[in-house]
Symmetry: C2
Subunit: 302 residues, 2 copies
């Protein structure tokens, strides 16, 4: 399962009643943070999410509202005693940008690894396969698909056919390769075909584009930006490389996702719920994201 | 007069109920901001202070809790349509540090001027003389004294003795040099001795030192850090280059200031009022600063 917490849902600037868009994914006891704008460390403290569980921070792009909180976030993790390495993934130049920002955060007591992500080249963290995909914004920007795979069902017939001693069945069932009497036993010797896992797709900031619907295809949850909901804001959305709620809904429909959460509202959008009906006309399972919104994505029932 | 608003009163990290220490001084319709940690732009929006009035930002030092909010602050000023130049003053390297932080804030629609401040070398903004003074912290750090001068009283006898035509008395009284019939008239030709102005002294982060009490001498308001109030925290205060409330109170007493506000509390200090009595035993006019605390410093009665 993946526990998803939307830490904030604002775009452009932090507001007193709306944190900047950021998302925390907990899986297998480890976490991934997506984006870290000004105030994300406070937004996180408003939830039950723990910074110390974060193994990787995925940055979508280098606009301030998605990364300006990073120096403070890293420093606070250091103050809380973190010593474990953290990985920061993002567009080309991620190391240079983070080093530039952390000129005011010297002496961090942990290492930082950097990954320059590439279109459709998967990375992994917290047991999830993470696939970056390129978006259409003013500068290089990536969305991310997170997939938690699921192994096959235990198959005692297969185990017996493969001569697997019963005393190591349960270890193999937990996906652990096991050695016994000099022989290596692998999980596939006792497990059936892999089953459908859990998929989450996240994208801000962007105009609609094909790579979104193909990357989001079949997601259990699709978190997508919607800067405005009024149709007359379309020109402004196009100019700034953003979307309307209705455009996000169309992508959700095309991608055949189970549920969509809107996020990254303009500061001018005081009540995003007012724009929800229009999105639901296109894609009924549209919901407004809000600070602290949380869900758990479970494996489907067999 | 100087209108003083303490935007935040926290140290180290922003908290959900306490913004990082920052101060806004309004004088002659123009403003100076002291420090800009993560969230200062939101803290400012919680008050009646206006970002567009800010002519100068004085940075005390380059620890993240005093400067990490700068890229977002500048971007938001740009989004609000600012075109007027802004001056950022701070320790040696201020231009390099700000340029490093604003790698994520390109295309600002206004110019930034930089001033590297020096010990006791006055600069000026919003009609105030601003005197930086060196503090004792882990890295170069400055306090700032703000002095709003006051010209002398109008003296008609002096005006007559200097042959100043009556039709320009009021202009000279407003401190405006005036030309009439090819002759230059200066304000001192109609004004008496300069009178005592208004003085505010601000200092975080530092151990107590002589330069503080000499710089703060005679201030109407002394805003001073107090990271902890418990006496048993002295070792930690010394180690991190900070002060106890009692040490701030002693400086206030030595400096013969009218009133002291404490600020820059450790996140561990849940209720600073609990430490106030100890400070008042030393300096009775000690007060706890809080987010949004405001006062107006008027010229003294003649």
């Amino acid at each position: 399962m993946i526990e998803v917490t939307l830490l904030g849902c604002g775009g452009m600037m932090p507001m007193k009643n709306r944190w900047l868009t950021s998302c925390y994914l907990l899986c297998n006891g480890h976490a991934v943070l997506i984006d870290c704008g000004e105030g994300t460390q406070i937004a996180l403290k408003n939830t039950t999410c723990k910074a110390k569980k974060i193994d990787m921070i995925c940055i979508t792009h280098f606009h301030a509202d998605h990364i300006s909180g990073l120096p403070g976030f890293l420093l606070s993790m250091g103050n809380e005693g973190r010593e474990e390495k953290i990985t920061i993934a993002g567009p080309r130049g991620i190391e240079r940008i983070v080093k530039s920002l952390t000129v005011i955060a010297s002496g961090l007591p942990f290492e930082i690894d950097f990954i320059e992500v590439e279109d459709h080249k998967a990375i992994s963290a917290a047991g999830m396969e993470i696939t970056p995909f390129r978006l259409r914004h003013g500068l290089e920007c990536f969305g991310y698909s997170f997939y938690l795979p699921r192994s096959g069902k235990f198959d005692p017939e297969k185990a017996r056919a493969n001569d697997v001693p019963q005393c190591i069945w349960s270890k193999l069932q937990k996906n652990e390769e096991t050695e016994l009497d000099g022989r290596i036993f692998t999980p596939d010797m006792v497990l059936g075909e892999s089953r459908k896992g859990v998929k989450l797709t996240y994208c801000t900031d962007t105009r609609p584009c094909k790579s979104i619907s193909s990357s989001a295809a079949g997601s259990d949850l699709f978190i997508c930006e919607g800067l405005y909901y009024e149709q007359d804001k379309i020109e402004r959305a196009v100019k700034t490389g953003h979307m309307l709620f209705s455009e996000a809904a169309r992508l959700a429909l095309e991608s055949d996702v189970k549920e969509m959460w809107l996020t990254h509202y303009s500061p001018a959008v005081k009540d995003p719920e007012l724009g929800l009906a229009a999105a639901r006309e296109i894609f009924p399972d549209s919901y407004c994201g809000y600070d602290g919104k949380k869900t758990i994505l479970y494996y489907p029932e067999d």
